[in-house]
């Protein structure tokens, strides 16, 4: 077992670089101290893995989430890493189930895992392996995560540069709205679980809609909730945005009970996000989701925003590769 440093649960100390080395506090308030950057990381969160690729720290990854090998995102990671392309990078678990034995056998010096996986965290820590637990509720959390990963892998300048770039991209969208938007469009967001599964005002989705200059049709505070058909008819959104769903497309929306009369449906303003990898709300690629939504809600204001070009530029800036060059 290679453990680069001690791991404690003291949540009072601020994160940063300690005199002895690296000191980071995760989302569970767990303080991690390392003498040197992590060299063998098992990352059980697909979105977090993207962060390590953005930092250029993929060489430190020795285990990934099994979700990386899912059909809809495998192609992207295969373009980034030959080990994934050849399916030789081990996947000892995912967001739900973790094989502790397989994690231990990879001899990691750091495991990245969702903070909600408390039982797995306990088991991994009992084996003496430091754990960084993630819980993302806002864009600030996304910035904190990439910043922490930068410190943990010794790539702080790159992390800072990525954050600066993302903030600047979001600023560009906001600046365009400031001068042009007369009326806020009302957006209904639809998760892939079903047409009535949406997010309220205390959610990442709400932030996404606000960044795009629009307003969330769902005015409940819940992060995730199931509403009913008549509630959506009451809201009568201007735009409906679907999370990526391999089994549904925007055409299906008009068949939902009573929805054919919705303004968004009548005006063909129903859109679907592209693959989970490209419009990932839990990574710095959040910016691309904002750009898509802004253009869908205000096509005239964002007339000159070329989404294909924006996507290629984003991938180039974040991963150092464009989509075309990866495939």
């Amino acid at each position: 077992m290679v453990a680069l440093g001690s791991c404690s649960t003291n949540s009072n100390e601020s994160r940063g670089e300690s005199k002895a080395g690296i000191m980071v506090t995760d989302f569970g308030g767990r303080q991690l101290n390392f003498d040197k950057p992590a060299e063998r990381i098992v990352c059980l969160i697909e979105s977090a893995l993207s962060g390590f690729f953005m930092l250029g720290a993929e060489g430190s990854i020795v285990g990934v989430s099994s979700n990386v090998y899912d059909d809809n995102i495998f192609q992207y990671y295969a373009g980034l890493d030959d080990r994934i392309k050849n399916k030789t990078l081990p996947a000892p678990g995912n967001w739900d189930f973790v094989s502790i034995e397989n994690v231990v056998s990879l001899r990691p010096d750091l495991v990245i895992i969702w903070a909600s996986q408390t039982e797995s965290i306990k088991s991994i820590e009992l084996k003496g392996i430091p754990v960084y637990a993630v819980m993302l509720k806002s864009t600030d959390d996304i910035y904190k995560e990439i910043s922490d990963f930068g410190m943990l892998t010794g790539r702080e300048p790159r992390a800072d540069s990525l954050i600066r770039y993302t903030k600047a991209e979001l600023r560009k969208i906001i600046d365009l709205q400031d001068s042009s938007l007369a009326k806020k469009q009302k957006v209904y967001f639809m998760w892939a679980q079903g047409p009535l599964e949406t997010s309220g005002t205390n959610s990442t989705v709400n932030e996404l809609i606000n960044f795009a200059g629009a307003a969330n049709a769902c005015n409940f505070p819940d992060e995730h909730l199931i509403v009913n058909f008549e509630r959506v008819i009451d809201w009568n959104p201007d735009v409906i945005v679907m999370w990526y769903d391999a089994n549904k497309n925007p055409e299906d929306v008009k068949n939902f009970p009573g929805w054919s009369n919705l303004k968004a449906v009548k005006e063909n303003s129903v859109y679907e996000f592209p693959s989970v990898f490209l419009a990932d709300l839990w990574t710095l690629k959040f910016q691309y989701a904002v750009k898509l939504l802004a253009k869908w809600a205000y096509p005239e204001v964002f007339l000159n925003v070329d989404l294909v070009k924006e996507r290629e530029l984003m991938l180039q800036n974040l991963y150092g590769k464009t989509e075309g060059s990866k495939q």
Partner: protein, 337 residues
Amino acid sequence: MRKKKLFYFILYALPLLVLPASLLIGPSESASFSKILEYLGYLTNPDKTGYSIDFSTLQTILFEVRLPRILLAFLVGGALSVSGAGLQAIFRNPLVSPYILGLSSGAAFGAALSLAWAFLPVQLSAFLFGLLAVAISYAVALNRKNLSIVSLILSGIIVTGIFSALLTIVQFLTDPFKLQSIIHWTMGNLHNTGWQSLQSSYIPILSGVFILFLMRWRLNVLALGDEEAQTSGINPVRGKLIVLVAATLATSAAVAVAGIIGLYGLIVPHFVRMLAGPDNRQAMTLNFVLGGTFLLIIDDFSRTIAGFEIPIGVITMLIGAPIFLYLMKKSNIGWED
């Protein structure tokens, strides 16, 4: 005697009150009680010129959203109750529910497969796997043309276990979004109901219920045991098979559109037995009427009690189980005789 007739009249008339009342209940401001009254005024007034309000949203909510859901809730509740009553009679066991032969776990596995990999529509997949689970239980239990009730219950338990394990494998392999869909499906809900759901389910539900209704007097004989049934000129194996097929057909179709509504098919037949006694000639109709009405009332709560939808299966458990336990403690539930 007169009092008894009045009592039954009230019970049978209950849906006539609850069905239209449910149409008036809902979370939407565009279809609030006062707006519906205004709409009724508009409909009944021959002079339409005084009305400037556009009723199209209200009409959409009433007839595209609420009406199919209300009708489906009634049908599903009726189907589960009638099937539960029929199976309790042939199994001669008060602990039997329509899910005893693995139907719910088979349907859940079918739905999960479809939600994870979309090889068939969810409802069709749930329906087919529900039927498959019961067919396996029946085939395993059938021994040289004899059908032992104990073997049938045992094979049902094993088949339930197998399909539950298969469901876990699907859950293990799928992503968080699909897993959440699978879990929501298994909780039982009617919030995605439209005319399409009703169209796809009413024929098998009503066919199953109608066959059980036709079998109502034979159920009384089958409930006495195989020997008594044979003495009365009824083939017990054939009789049980007909009841089993009809109950499975109705329940599979109900589960396919509404998910797993736990305990309902077990509890309502007991309520009915407490009210009307063990005679299935009366009980089958009453199970349909009261089963449908109670589930409709529960669904009214489910869609209006909070700003968000509460899965109906959760409410049937939370409301039904304590009431049932209370009544069980207070009174004879009809099986001790």
